[in-house]
Amino acid sequence: MGNPMGPHSAALQRIVTRMRDTEAAGRYVLVTRIPYQEWGLAQLSGQRGVDVTLLEDQVFTSLEDAERAVFKMRWELITGTPLVLD
């Protein structure tokens, strides 16, 4: 989690790739709130002409923080348990 933008080890990249390879509908994306400063988390509609769904409580001031947060959410989604790091 110290280097969320990579490059990652081969093993970690394998996990990250699996996480990124989702259906377009519902895929997490960052929506610009303030250009180059602040981003909100959102999910794609997967349908042309239908806007993203904003997750208003998830706002980031760095792209690294956003990657960490989404990694944790996806980890829990895939494994069923929260990510606990010591």
Binding site: R20, Y28, T32, P35, R48, D51
Partner: protein, 743 residues
């Protein structure tokens, strides 16, 4: 959160002093007025580490406030045949066509209509999601009678459909026959209805193919209920045709015995390089296509023996209609510029501002048409801008696996997604899944903006403009379209021609011009990656439109159907230039080998770089490592990479003066260079995944310098332009502007 609400386009992309250019603008509610100015673009990248946005105001009569208004765009393709005597004597009626519906379950869609819905006159043939074929006849009194077949059509299958009406018996006969043969088929069938007193009521509305219409706009019927898919050989006849006669009309001539009874029989295999549809009946009721449906596509009788439509046009008598294709928004102009006579050549824009809203409609002022005004020309890749224009991948897919990080969606992407009617890029698919093979610049191209946060094409090319401005080197600006029209004579006025960062799409005229320039003593600086890759076509009678087929090979977001590799605009074989015997390596020394979009890397000098022929390139540079910095991905070797290859045609005497290394596994070798699948195709394992900086001399004292990487120009700005990428680029440019011939 900022919402984008204003956008526009211009009718021209390159104008000379004294010429006129018109600007069309549309505003969403909330923008009642906007300020417009003409500015010269200096730099665009607004990221905190970048040079920021800068422009210079050009004093013109344009500057001022304008009322904001919303302008309607009518997308979707169909054909219009004017009303005429061909359709006068209808009391009995037959309608038929072969159809290949691609979205039959979406909604009711029109195959043929000649109908005034208000007055309740005329006829229309539809496909219905549940009922399949539907015939509507107006009752002449504001009402419509409707007759349905009652069986749904299967998507992506050819059917012969027909509807006949017998005025003496009142019988309506509907047929839909699957042309392929399956062990089980519940979609074919026929049904007879007693119409009980209906008649075919004369209607003076135009006839439409693939659409119906209730209103006119801009002098044309507005197409609605557009049919997605292929229609072949539609026929209107003035008597009840027998089944055998319906079959006989599937050929490329009207049988002699039927000529008196055929009102119109359109053969779409004729005049495929135009918007005309040709009626081969004696009535000659020709029509026009709206919004670029796809021509030169396989028909129902395609055998697979002939892959080139030029050789067997009768097997390509279908047109693929689409409810989201678009040629020209046809908005009303908001303002017009007559380029002042003394305007220096450059990259300009109409800058629109309204509170926190802005848009830049960029265009080029080329030098006067008869001369150059500098020794250097910057060649703006407008063909590639058109190919990428309105790319929807960001907001539709997130492109997360390509980039190996979360996608960032700006107000621009959300605006584009609110406007599907602005059409797609050549990287997208139409609503029915068909790859987009036509583009147009006569519509707002939302990502082709100097300040777009996705640094790609124009926004990335602003790094080159910014550097040239900072170097105080005079330069003219010309475009792909200028070069396509004027040929090498345009380039020959310059000592040196510099490309932008990603000149990927080339017409034959453009390729010939660049090649001839290098062969006649010209100096070419290819400042990017993945250039000279796809072949495209323009049509002289269709300004602002472009065609491309993604054929047998290449790194691509969709693939053309087999047998559809030849371009309707010109008849030329489409796809990779490599497949037409013209490799990028033979033109510029290197060619596309790998791409990735996470971290960019750096170059290392090679033994070749110490060759005396290359000494001028490295003057004042002691570093072994070149470009371990940059505004895109942090390095000069990034995004799309080109490498030298003797096998692909790099000139034998070319020098590879620097080679990139240490690319991440996000960088993967292009699929057209992969034979068998191997484990080692990523940057960490595959030594092929690298960029080469190449230099070679050309005949009559010319030379080519190719940077091998889209990321190169993103490194120019680093450390206030004091860096080895900037120095190398400057060294080459100075030498290339020096008339002393190369050996």
């Amino acid at each position: 959160m900022l919402e984008k609400k204003i956008a526009g386009y211009s009718d021209e992309i390159s104008v000379a002093p004294g010429e006129r250019i018109r600007f069309m603008v549309s505003c969403e509610p909330g923008v009642d007025r906007y300020q417009a100015d003409i500015v010269r673009l200096i730099s665009g990248d607004r990221q905190p580490s970048g040079p920021g946005y800068r422009d210079e105001l050009l004093q013109t009569s344009v500057s001022g406030e304008y009322p904001g208004r919303s302008q309607e765009t009518y997308c979707g393709s169909y054909a219009v045949v004017p009303d005429g005597p061909a359709f006068d004597a209808l009391s009995d009626l037959s309608l038929q066509a072969a159809i290949f519906p691609t979205l039959p379950a979406l909604r009711r869609a029109c195959i043929i209509s000649k109908m005034d819905i208000e007055a309740g006159c005329g006829f229309a043939l539809w496909t219905d999601p549940a009922d399949g074929l539907v015939l509507q006849l107006g009752d002449g009194d504001g009402g419509l009678r409707e007759f349905t077949l009652g069986q749904a059509l299967v998507a992506r299958e050819w059917y012969l459909v027909s509807a006949t009406y017998d005025s003496s018996s009142g019988e309506v006969h509907l047929r839909q026959q699957l042309l392929d043969s399956y062990a089980r088929d519940t979609s074919s069938g026929e049904v007879k209805h007693d119409s009980k007193g209906t008649a075919v009521v004369r209607c003076n509305a135009p006839l439409l193919i693939a659409a119906a219409s209730r209103e006119e706009a801009r002098g044309k019927p507005v197409g609605e209920m557009i049919f997605n898919g292929r229609i072949e050989r539609p026929v209107v006849a003035s008597r009840v045709l027998e089944r055998s006669e319906i079959e006989s009309l599937r050929s490329d001539a009207v049988p002699r015995g039927l000529r008196t009874d055929i009102c119109a029989a359109w053969d779409f295999s004729r005049a495929m390089d135009t918007d005309d549809i040709i009626d081969i009946s004696p009535n000659r009721a020709h029509g026009r296509l709206i919004n670029l449906p796809i021509r030169a596509v396989r028909g129902s009788n395609w055998t697979g023996d002939e892959l080139d439509f030029n050789h067997a046009p009768d097997q390509y008598a279908a047109i693929h209609f689409l409810d989201d294709s678009l040629y020209d928004c046809e908005w009303d102009a908001d303002f017009e510029l007559e380029v002042p006579a003394d305007t220096p050549s450059g990259l300009y824009a109409a800058r629109l501002t309204a509170g926190d809203q802005e848009d830049h409609i960029s265009f080029v002022v080329r030098p006067p048409r008869d001369r150059a005004t500098a020794s250097l020309a910057l060649l703006i890749p407008t063909a590639s801008y058109m190919a990428y224009g309105n790319s929807r991948g960001g907001i539709e897919f997130g492109n997360e696996l390509l980039a190996n990080h979360l996608a960032v969606i700006g107000p621009e992407e959300r605006y584009l997604n609110r406007h599907p009617e602005y059409g797609n890029s050549m990287y997208d698919n139409h609503n029915d899944g068909t790859g987009v093979c036509y583009s147009s610049r006569l519509r707002p191209l939302i990502n082709i903006r100097p300040t777009h946060h996705w640094l790609w094409q124009l926004s990335a090319d602003m790094h080159i403009v910014e550097w040239l401005e900072a170097q105080r080197i005079p330069f003219d600006v010309i475009t792909d379209e200028d070069m396509h029209q004027d040929g090498v004579s345009l380039l020959e006025r310059y000592s040196c021609v510099m490309t932008c960062s990603h000149p990927e799409y080339y017409s034959t005229n453009m390729w010939d011009a660049v090649h001839a320039f290098t062969q006649r003593g010209g100096r070419l600086m290819y400042m990017g990656g993945n250039g000279f890759y796809w072949r495209v076509a323009y049509r002289d009678d269709k300004p602002g439109a472009m065609e491309m087929r993604r054929t047998e090979d290449g790194s691509r977001s969709w693939a053309s159907e087999p047998g559809e590799y030849f371009m309707a605009f010109t008849g030329e074989y489409g796809g990779l230039w490599w497949r037409a015997g013209r490799t990028p390596q033979s033109l510029v020394g290197n060619g596309f080998i790998a791409q990735g979009f996470d971290h960019s890397s750096y170059f290392r000098r090679t033994a070749d770089s110490h060759d005396p022929r290359a000494a001028f390139i490295f003057e004042g540079i002691d570093d072994e490592i070149i470009g371990d910095f940059g505004l895109i991905g942090g390095g000069a070797a990034g995004l799309e990479l080109d490498s030298a290859s003797r096998a692909y045609g790099t000139p034998p005497h070319a020098l590879t003066v620097a080679t990139s290394e240490q690319h991440t596994d996000c960088y993967i070798r292009v699929n057209e260079d992969i034979g068998h699948m191997l484990l080692s195709i990523g940057g960490q394992d595959d030594p092929q995944v690298h960029a080469d900086v190449v230099f070679f001399e050309t005949p009559r004292g010319g030379a080519v310098f190719s940077t091998g990487s889209i990321g190169w120009s993103s490194a120019l700005f680093h450390n206030d332009h004091n860096n080895n990428v900037s120095r190398m680029t400057r060294n080459v440019l100075d030498r290339f502007l020096d008339p002393t011939p190369f050996a």
